[in-house]
Symmetry: C3
Subunit: 246 residues, 3 copies
């Protein structure tokens, strides 16, 4: 994964994402080196998704009518060979969300699904307790990642204290980061934006996802040292995302 190339090319990442994190995702992606666009009108998403370098579908504050919009954008991305990342935020919290993400993975060829254990388990119909949008960390993250990747037939990233990437056969783990990432909203959503940007540059999906994961978590570790609490952590994290790793 060539970060210099990414920062030179500034890949355009089309987001159809949740309103809570739009600003933070855009600023984080800009700092990292990508270029965000957040158009969501059904009439234009195909036009944008097909010229973008990557597409992020995040169901955080999804409405019923957005499902069709996401599918249209996803299919346009598929046709144009643009990688698609799905973030099934809170997929286990309601029947509506679970059905929405299951429909998306059926109708769109998703390149990577990224979520916490509860969200991934819900999407792949692996039983697990969920509290709101954040999963109780139960069950074995590795097992969930492998099994979900097998069932959905795409690469899966399960985030948590230990992050796991699996293609359904083997898995890779990574254990960087800081608990402060759990104290700010949209930390996981922004990670998805970085992964999508990396997939635009690096065709090996696993290498792209792992690079984004480790770069992001190490930036967070550096930001933590400069932060007093979650409030000051945010600007420092954005600063660090613009730097080089080590």
């Amino acid at each position: 994964m060539n970060l210099a190339q990414l920062r030179e090319e500034r890949p355009l990442v089309h987001h159809i994402t949740n309103e809570v994190v739009m600003n933070f995702s855009a600023n984080g992606l800009l700092a990292f080196g990508g270029s965000p666009v957040m158009a969501k009108e059904r009439e234009e998403v195909e036009e944008i998704a097909s010229v973008a370098s990557a597409l992020v579908l995040n169901i955080g504050t999804i409405r019923k009518e957005d499902i069709e919009t996401m599918i249209k954008a996803g299919q346009a991305a598929n046709k144009a060979g643009v990688p698609v990342l799905l973030d099934p935020v809170g997929a286990g919290a309601t029947t509506f969300r679970k059905q929405a993400v299951q429909r998306i993975v059926q109708e769109v060829d998703v390149s990577v699904v990224k979520g916490n254990a509860g969200e991934i388990a819900a999407l792949a119909d692996i039983p697990l307790k969920v509290k709101g949008v954040d999963a109780e960390e139960e069950g074995d993250a590795e097992e969930i990642a492998v099994e979900a990747a097998k069932r959905i037939q795409t690469m899966v990233v399960v985030t948590g204290k230990r992050d796991v990437i699996s293609n359904g056969e083997e898995f890779t783990t990574s254990s960087h980061g800081t608990p402060l990432l759990g104290s700010i909203t949209g930390a996981g959503c922004l990670l998805g934006s970085l992964m999508a940007a990396c997939m635009a540059i690096e065709k090996d999906k696993k290498e792209a996802a792992l690079f984004a994961l480790e770069f992001y978590n190490k930036a967070a570790e550096r930001a933590e040292k400069k932060a007093v609490g979650p409030g000051t952590f945010i600007p420092h994290l954005l600063d660090e995302l613009g730097k080089d790793d080590d």
Copy 2:
């Protein structure tokens, strides 16, 4: 009010709130010790509101179709015994807003209404001049709080230089805070989120509201000392919300 218990239980606060403040409210609530969820699709709000620990209805950027969604969520919360806080943002600014909040208080059993003098007066049909979403501070805050609580038949919090809590019979005032809270958007909305979280832990609504009010305003006083202006005030305020009150 037991803050340690709140931070242990991390109450899930379902927000149907305005898009301007979603990120700030989520980060502030996370820092304080709660867990935000911001789902707004009508098909799922009942499912979420009924398992949440509290529900916040904030009409800041409300659209016509959101009124029904808020009522559905509110009634589900009522059925499940989940406390409901209503923030009638800009209620006096338009006929549409006034009718929206009046319909909500008629159809939902709201636990607390929190707003500035102009908003509360509009909701309770007490005449007052209003400029945009921020009320001109005229009239007597205590009088408005008591009269509104009597008319709406629930607890009312009127925020301003002097904050007033009333149940329609008696009232309590509090005078902490800093003018910087008026220089950032969503300061009042975030206070509502903290009050809702406290109501999830403390059954005495007045004690819950008063605790949130004083904790928040004292955190703002500490943050003010570290801030140069409204921009640096924001991260410091979030940091302070995560600390203990001296």
Copy 3:
């Protein structure tokens, strides 16, 4: 342009704007001295736009149904003599956007159109390459500003390394700012909010726009000196917007 008067009167600026930048625009305008309101329900926008001091129409995350809402608000502002600023975000990125802004300038008497070269060129049907919402800087900014102002028959501000203001006959340029403004989302959108606030106070549109432009860019230059990267630049920029221009 009298900044002290603006800060005394705190002009109410009605925004129908994009969800990515709502919070940042509101905080920036508050810091500068204005008062933001972001209502977007079609039933109430006429009531608000007609009592506001200025109206901002920003199509960043526009949906089809928002076009009608913006036109209604714009026409109400026109009837009440309230200045209207149009920010044609990403106008060249899709047919949908281009048609939306072209319809708005046909049906609303827009006081100022502010955008980058690509956006302005798209709106005025001057051919130019566009990448996503951010234009490749090609073509001559002065030429685009003058030609667009002539075609649209209103004042045009083309932002870029060199900012250009034109009424279709003559033009003024300004060259302050920092590349960091391009590393955060909504920098241009916030500039639009400040211009709108200034137009509420200063009837000479060119003087108002130029004042906002230079005040904003000089604040950004000062903030840059205090910032480590784009993350810390944001709070410092907001702080600086609240100060006096030396």
